[in-house]
Symmetry: C2
Subunit: 341 residues, 2 copies
């Protein structure tokens, strides 16, 4: 049977109010009494219940990370999320907050937020035009969006500089002499992370005086399987391409696998750049040139931003942009003359 504040009070010969006061450092309690109570708390290994506390105070020291399902009932394989969630968990650790992990589908209900009186939300990769987005806003609790590029004011957000990422990846390939660069992405949209990266891609092309060719942009390549299928599409292109920029590392992995099976060598025949720098890119064969974002750190930052909001601390920045970095590895190489046209 769990030990409560009453037990402590009884043993110390004081009222529960006094115990509560030493617990919260409020009110006037003599040092002598306080010491005695603290000793008993220690001895009895008493931990106040957040349930009872939360009922009174309207806070639960619980935040929830909301991660979308890829497809109904299908789980998102991208290790990206694991790193992110690990970061969030890390970011809450020293503040005695705990993390609830919730995977939601587009039309899932969010009643768990009310039910559990969750203090705040970290939402990953939700499009601003989805019904889910509105449902989340309607909850009216502290929320941080990650990788959402929401334009509405007053929204707390954390992202990386995705436009720069798209630019750097493309620039790198251009600098190696590639001028027909396939862009493999998940879904072509007019917003969101992939859109930003697309803008970066276009910017780099424009700077190099190259035209933006929609034939080179391939959708449904965000997953490993999607990237794999993109390999075929690349090889049947009317005009040969010598490089591909895949907007996710897992997609890049799939693509390289597919190219391999079709007898194309990476990077000799075709260079590939990924995106994210998930944990194993260095160990791929060939190791993957990619745009690094510090995913773990991003999770920690989001947690920090959320907790500050919850604790009512002044939070100046409403939108945090973290840097990205080009990691050049073995999957990209100078365009060989033999390879062209």
């Amino acid at each position: 049977m769990k030990i409560t504040i009453k037990d402590i009070a009884k043993e110390a010969g004081v009222s529960v109010a006094t115990v509560s006061n030493v617990l919260n450092g409020t009110g006037r309690v003599s040092e002598e009494t306080a010491k005695r109570i603290r000793r008993i708390i220690e001895e009895r290994n008493y931990v106040p219940s957040t349930l009872a506390r939360g009922l009174k105070n309207k806070n639960t020291q619980l935040i929830s990370v909301i991660v979308p399902y890829l497809k109904k009932g299908d789980f998102e394989e991208n290790p990206f999320f694991w790193q992110l969630v690990s970061g969030v968990e890390m970011g809450t650790k020293d503040q005695a907050f705990n993390v609830m992990l919730t995977r939601v589908d587009r039309d899932d209900d969010l009643s768990f937020v009310k039910r559990h009186n969750v203090d705040g939300l970290i939402v990953v990769g939700i499009n601003a035009d989805s019904a889910l987005y509105q449902n989340i806003l309607d909850l009216k609790i502290p929320t941080v969006f990650m990788d959402s590029y929401i334009e509405q004011p007053g929204i707390y957000q954390v992202h990386n500089d995705d436009l720069l990422g798209g630019y750097l990846g493309t620039k790198h390939l251009l600098s190696q002499g590639h001028d027909r660069i396939v862009l493999v992405m998940g879904r072509l949209a007019d917003r969101g992370v992939e859109y930003q990266r697309l803008l970066g891609y276009k910017k780099a092309l424009a700077e190099a005086g190259l035209a933006y060719d929609t034939h080179l942009v391939m959708e449904n390549g965000g997953s490993m399987l999607g990237g794999y299928h993109a390999a075929q599409r690349i090889t049947v292109l009317p005009e040969k391409a010598t490089a591909a920029f895949v907007l996710s590392d897992i997609g890049a992995m799939g693509l390289i696998k597919g190219l391999n099976e079709m007898g194309k060598k990476v990077p000799e025949d075709i260079s590939v750049v990924g995106y994210d720098d998930i944990f194993y890119t260095e160990y791929m064969i060939p190791s993957l040139t990619t745009i690094r974002q510090d995913i773990f750190k991003k999770g920690m930052m989001a947690a920090g931003l959320l907790l500050a909001q919850i604790n009512g601390e002044p939070v100046p920045e409403q939108s945090i942009f973290l840097p990205v970095e080009l990691k050049v590895r073995a999957s990209t190489a100078k365009r060989l003359e033999k390879g062209c046209e």
Copy 2:
């Protein structure tokens, strides 16, 4: 301001007890009143607070998954955990339970369990001889251990048949003509998953009439970096080995990378078998022969077992063993005559 049971009661013109009764289906409420109350609940979008409910009932519809840190402050990169946690989350979904994710270090305190009145625990990969294990047992709440091979009776556990896995992997290599098979593992112990797999390895060797050679067993190869370093150790072996069985896929990936850098071809020069069948093994180059365990399903089973316990349902099996399966892919091949001695 959150809407409470009182608001519903007032609007329906009844007492809160009546509302509570229709909420819980207990007590006698006329169909007419019940219908009216349900309508109002629907309209007002009322969700009862688990906080208040839990305070009275001693349950919170919250379970916690406890995942160990690899090192202090360092996050465990293995996507294994993500699949597992996803499985657990999936397994709780239809029962309105939520999942708290907690990464704990050996000496971390578990007070969050008491604080949040967590209903149950799913614990991954904790050794039975650790202090953490005792601390968890001392909490005296429903718990399911995964991959722990605890011999104490009365403990609920879920694992795969790791001995069989070790056996199948080794047998496969033997059947391809390899007779010096390196075993790369995390830590040599006398218990736990790796020990079981080691037993399987030994069993297969014994059946083939081969001696168990401790020089072939390499520790600290559980991580990607560990596997990478094992490559060197393998190549300097006094008597050449033509195959390696790595007890984790990420270790195998590291090993293959290492071998590659040392000019050794997989599988031509050396065959490699992994363990787990994490999501990308098929996309590795070469694709990885491995022992498949259905990690997602394991998570779901663990959740099911835990919830049954929490709900007081009769749970006959205290230890669930899930099958494993050998997935033969491209990282293993027949031993070439040129390769021996």
